[in-house]
Subunit: 340 residues, 2 copies
């Protein structure tokens, strides 16, 4: 797999610097590192995949006051959310969960909630068939820190770099619900139950991804953790294609529309808000239409064509199918620039 290019943003500058370190590291190690031969998919995708039977590995940090606030969530929800976010990276490569490792740092004031937090971790793991493989615990001098390592099995990993011109770009479920909850909390109001659930209890699309992969529907995929604009931008960048979104087609979560059914506000949350943990994928042009009914019957969720891949680069959007496409900011939500 070639070098992966990432979209802009401070978070990705840091990741890019990791990749550059790795490139020089690989050169130095070329002749004597046993590790290199074992790496099927390296950094820059949702998971690393090492040879053997195909072990997919990903790690996902959740930090208090960056990814969540303690007055927003109950302890089991903090644990569920962190675990679901990590497992969602396995969905993005169509891997089957095997287990998790849990790193947990707690300030003294949270010790009484540690077990409840771990209950949420265990529930999420059990729900998706992952067992606890290990972990590390530490005192924290400040924020609650949960870092979850997701471990999965995969025969033929789906990467971000497999999108081809002519592919349909599709998403599962509805977008912007989690961001609607965050927006409500930041306004000082309580989110709706639907919005709160979308943020606190995300459902990674693990079985859905494997189902789609088995049907040849996934040329490339990513899970939506930075918002559709940011993550579709990553797909375009990694695959060296232009992705063109039809904004009218984006399935906005009812909770993101709000009581006034404000489509523009909802669309902004779907594009720029993070952490829906739905899948955005590219597949053969007729994929969505052909699989929508069976997908809804099997999983009770929508499969929606939101655009297409064309030759070129970057992320473009049009308001209506007959409108002129214009470049779309791909910023998304950044856990470097943004604070919860």
């Amino acid at each position: 797999m070639g070098r992966i290019r990432l979209g802009p943003g401070a978070e990705f500058d840091l990741i890019r610097s990791l990749l550059e370190h790795d490139a020089s590291l690989r050169e130095r190690l070329e002749t004597h590192a046993p590790g290199v031969d074992s790496v099927l998919v390296g950094p820059g995708d949702d998971c690393a995949v090492v040879h053997g039977p195909g072990i997919a590995l990903s790690v996902d940090l959740s930090i208090e006051d960056v990814h969540f606030r303690r007055d927003w969530l109950e302890p089991p929800e903090i644990g569920w959310r962190a675990t679901a976010a990590a497992l969602s990276d396995l969905a993005a490569v169509a891997a089957e969960p095997v287990g998790i490792l849990v790193s947990l740092a707690l300030p003294r004031s949270v010790d009484a909630d540690a077990e409840a937090l771990m209950t949420g971790v265990s529930e999420a793991a059990a729900t998706y068939g992952a067992v606890l493989l290990g972990g590390d615990v530490s005192r924290s001098p400040g924020p609650v820190v949960i870092d979850i390592v997701a471990v999965g099995r995969v025969g033929a990993p789906i990467t971000r770099s497999g999108v081809r011109p002519g592919d349909a770009i599709c998403v599962t479920g509805r977008l912007g619900g989690a961001a609607a909850a965050v927006a409500a909390w930041k306004r000082g109001t309580e989110p709706s139950t639907e919005a709160r659930t979308a943020f606190a209890r995300p459902r990674p699309r693990l079985a859905e991804a494997r189902w789609l992969a088995e049907r040849g529907a996934l040329h490339g995929a990513i899970d939506l953790s930075d918002g559709l604009a940011g993550d579709a931008g990553h797909l375009a960048s990694a695959s060296n294609v232009r992705i063109l979104l039809d904004l009218a087609a984006v399935p906005v979560h009812p909770a993101a529309l709000g009581p006034d059914a404000d489509r523009d506000a909802g669309l902004a949350l779907a594009l720029g808000g993070g952490e829906d943990y739905e899948l955005c994928f590219a597949g053969p042009a007729d994929t969505c239409a052909a699989l929508t009914d069976a997908f809804r019957e099997r999983f009770g969720a929508d499969l929606t064509r939101v655009g297409e891949a064309v030759p070129g680069e970057g992320l473009y959007a049009r308001e209506r199918p007959d409108a002129e496409p214009r470049p779309l900011r791909t910023g998304g939500y950044s856990h470097i620039d943004g604070q919860a």
Copy 2:
């Protein structure tokens, strides 16, 4: 592998609670979790090992003001130390490094040092043959957080639970050097160069562990991250044996003896201080004597018999070979109870 019992201490109460969650999780999943069948070594050992060609996985948290202070270490040393500590868990199961994943959370004030920190991570990884597999980055609202996932290959993992009565208990290298540096900083003085190097640039015994394993010398092993007393206690507990230490034999690091060559003070650092990242292992009674010369020639380090395993339980120590053994506190250094 049966249920592993851990030594006492708040840190281990938390880990134990993780294990208990996993036990109930396993029951629930018995019939339908694909993960369970893939797990060769579960939580409670230094690494998890999943089936296939034997992939060893461990995760190791380093948190500012708990594991290190920023005024003690240069940024590359922070990165080296965190990575070496994680790779040391691979040594403890005699696995060969494949790669690492890096989770990094930085406060804004440290952004300028991020690249230097990652240089230390890359150097440690390259030194031991591990490539960068991925990671996650986030803003931190306070401390620097580095969580390193170590990934290795292992045919026949060495666990903590394989110690048998009659085994010799041995250690590599010399102990207490890293703790001597911490003690100096806490007194408000500069540690000696030797002590500082032991803390800032630990050398995990990766090649050494595989060399010993190939020679049948490892029935059970652990890496010394909590001090000899704490970690030998974990070995005893996991293997259902009593471990009897000969205190006069413990190889105290010259830096731990200090300018006054105070053996008692040095021994206290060796037993109770953490993070030497040497190996403590159990093997056939004649192991150390038979391999000491070849080990020193190959690795330039000592191999020292420090005690034996006998029927019973717990950790005991005697001042001299003819003295009466007495129970030894196994507390070691705890990253829950202790603050850097």
